[in-house]
Chain length 199, copies 4
DNA sequence: GATGAATGAGATTTCATTCAT
DNA sequence: TATGAATGAAATCTCATTCAT
């Protein structure tokens, strides 16, 4: 039963880790950087986490489980299929708006890291794709979505568009700002649902 | 004027690097691993490349410039806009089919590596997005594509779908095989151009 | 004037330390291991002992002073010289029978540790050799023992045989059991006093 | 096929390790101490040895295998049983005379280290006891030695006396010098074979 | 060109000890 | 007395890079 102050310290370290991982990347971050950023002693990081890897693992899992919950909720809602996708996109975009550093870390260090963290968390990552797939399958059943596309492929495409959007923001290739964040969800949904072709 | 045998050695080392980078990831790969895989002496790697980073840089640049050329060629062709996108997607998919290790390395180690190689090569990466954007802009001008979407955003979405497709293959989430490679380009184009919505 | 409960706690910690030192060796034992084994809080070890070294120091001194007393008593007794040596050997063997972990710690961590605890406690160690030497010298004076051997050398030899016996038990090279413990003292004395040669 | 210079470097490091292990003890020796003493760069130690432990392992095994060979040779010789024991004692004593640091390291860090190196090398250690046992058994068969003592116990006793002698030298409790080294073997044999009792 | 030994800066991790409560 | 969080000084080991041959 960890005390409140202990939980606070963990949070302090996790938050600091997000900032330095985001700034320097996981591999260029030394544990001492995390400790310095958190303004705690070196060893305290190891008091709370067994390893540097575990810090990232926890950051990822914490946030990703929220994402899974959000997709499940969208799926269970009374929304139209297209709106469900909008809710999912909106959640991810809001996550970025709220804590861009954390989302940057997740996208840069985990979801494509096929030889390290991505492999470790593959089940969790795929769980999101499966949940989105479910929304699409239901949309196809209801006639909202075309049956012509494989729903799992469509799920990955949808996620790919969102991740590329965030990547654009991270790299500074796409503009950020209130207006952008507001409209981004709709643009993603329009892109994926309406497609490029005219008419 | 490097001799033929020298060029062969360079190639030998680059090809070996692709294999080990793909297998272990860039950070887990030691220079000695590259040398061992290439069956050359340790120091020879440094005879041909100034650093381990440069090996990856060269692998990326070599392949990415082919991609840029391919997109330019597609753009200059007489194809319909939608077919031009199909040509681009097809080129990337063929690249993966031909040398999955190399494409894995590029996607895993470069295009999202916002704090290292992705940042270094951002201009080259963005150049691809700009070329694709051009195709889309022209498609909008000709009436083939809807003017409702921002062409640069559409370009990134298009690329995001392809990269996610390859990521699915890399992680083993999507099936690979002749049939899949054959149809993949069309599926990407259909996804991006027709969208999910029925009719 | 430490309270009874305080003395109990000290004992609890010392006894736990014996078990973990014996099991893992002094260097592989963390202070937290001692605390865990003793079922007390981490910091309490430092409440009772100034350092981890001091715990071992105290374990050694406590037991070794009993040994010194035992040898002195044997010397002061009315026994024959050979029987005095038997009493000394018997005491050490009984010590092992009674608390093999403690004797293991003493032999493994102290009496040969020429660069650490053995050096620190050299006076106490040598005091034992001197007392045994005294018994032998008296035996030589009384004609029981041959004057041909240097009594200090003989003392060390006698102790060396006993320590090797215990080492054999510790390593599992020599069998342990009631019968072995019962006969061991006589066998040591026979070895040292009668020698190997026949007749 | 390591080159001559490579073998020389290994030797240089091993010899330096003997000196620092002997001076400070294994646990108080940092790898940098070995490197400094050998006058080589830090990393070179790891170029030749996978770990600090392996350095000690090699030192022990190298010397101990010589001891095993020496005991085997003594056993195979035409000497009387008592003289065979003298040859064994003499070899160990000469080993100490020739390289006291190495023998100190072996006795202090290995042969009693029941939780670390002693356990690891138990088979090699016991092999020595078994070979000595064989000499004693043969002595009993020939009538030279009394059948009253268990030969394995006698073997350990014999070794215990020698190791205690060396321990005495190491601790400075027993005088060293040419005369002592010369006579030591005979004294050990006299002690073990003739015993303490007069006639 | 080719070799692989040599270098040493740093990274992670451990853990004895201190200290605030 | 008792607790366990906090500290930070090492220690081991890695490995990119250099260099002598």
């Amino acid at each position: 039963m960890p005390s409140d102050v202990a939980l606070e310290r963990r949070r302090q370290i996790l938050d600091a880790a997000v900032r330095v991982f985001s700034r320097q990347g996981f591999h260029s971050t030394r544990v001492s950087d995390i400790a310095d950023e958190a303004d705690v002693a070196y060893g305290l990081v190891y008091h709370y986490f067994p390893s540097k890897d575990q810090v990232l693992d926890e950051l990822f899992t914490e946030r990703w489980s929220l994402l899974l919950t959000a997709i499940e909720e969208a799926d269970r809602s009374e929304l139209e299929p297209r709106e469900k996708l909008g809710a999912v996109a909106g959640f991810i975009i809001e996550s970025y708006r709220y804590d861009p550093d954390l989302m940057k870390v997740i996208i840069v260090e985990v979801t494509r890291a096929a030889n390290s963290f991505g492999r470790t968390h593959l089940d969790q990552i795929d769980a999101a794709f499966r949940l989105i797939e479910k929304i699409i399958t239901e949309g196809q059943a209801s006639g909202a979505f075309t049956p012509a596309v494989d729903p799992y492929f469509a799920s990955m495409s949808f996620y790919g568009v969102i991740e590329q959007l965030l990547t654009g923001w991270i790299f500074g290739l796409l503009p950020t700002g209130e207006a952008e964040f507001e409209s981004a969800g709709d643009r993603v949904v329009a892109m994926v649902c309406d497609g490029l072709d005219s008419d």
